[in-house]
Symmetry: C2
Subunit: 134 residues, 2 copies
DNA sequence: CAGCATCCTACCGGATACTG
DNA sequence: CAGTATCCGGTAGGATGCTG
């Protein structure tokens, strides 16, 4: 119904070879998703972002930003001052993607209690099936 | 503006310790996203899903489905027949999540040409800066 | 401050073989 | 058919040290 091919679109993420898979992974990856989410709030410097995205290492933030910049989702603005100052912000394309992403993130956050109770149910049912030291 | 804390929500994916991070990773992970996307089209048997999600291994599909079932996003219906028949489908919660996810996937698919041209631009600019053999 | 280079480990994930 | 169990390589990703 909403499939890419059915709409005649040239890119279909369900195909192994489609380049959209790579970009989707940059966008939804562990740090990509949080970085885009953070940047939706505005422009940030490198270390500001690092503090905002709790737990990300310097290396991974750097890699993530490069991938997102390469995909045209993030704009990097470096000022040749001393000390250096670099600001990151979303491009129009990045904003478009980030909005969909945030809708997803907020949906998960909102329904988190249901998820946690589902987990308890699942684990209890399993524990019942495997009495001891499963 | 759209931050979890600013809305007074109890779960904030930007915090390292928040359980919503784990669920978000199940949902947006390499195979989780494609599996949810596929299941949005209807109910599927295990091997139907495997064919639909091009490239997924038996092992990863199995793991992915278990994680999604545990999080209450997927319902597993096993019939004790021989040969066995197991059907997977989204729960109402899963449908809610999958719709947001598909909006994101389709957005990426739609704008894929812009992504690819951004990549070419990025790579050319880099190549110009590093004349030969980096 | 804003990174890059290096090292090292955990685990993601594919291939294969086996079970009910 | 619908999985589980095992082995194994590649890489994601953390820690550390250095640069401009």
């Amino acid at each position: 119904m909403t499939t890419a091919q059915e709409q005649g679109l040239p890119y279909d993420v369900f195909s192994r070879a489609c380049p959209s898979r790579g970009t989707l992974e940059h966008v939804t990856g562990r740090w990509g998703a949080l970085t885009l989410g953070a940047l939706h709030e505005g422009s940030f410097r490198f270390n500001e972002l690092r503090r905002r995205v709790d737990g990300v290492s310097e290396k991974m933030l750097s890699q993530t930003l490069q991938a997102l910049e390469r995909d045209g989702l993030v704009h990097r603005e470096a000022q040749p001052t001393n000390p250096p100052r670099v600001d990151y912000e979303l491009t129009p394309l990045g904003r478009e993607v980030a909005e969909r992403l945030l809708a997803l993130i907020h949906c998960v956050e909102r329904r988190m209690d249901d998820v946690l109770s589902a987990r308890r149910g699942y684990d209890e049912a399993r524990a019942a099936r495997t009495p001891l030291t499963g």
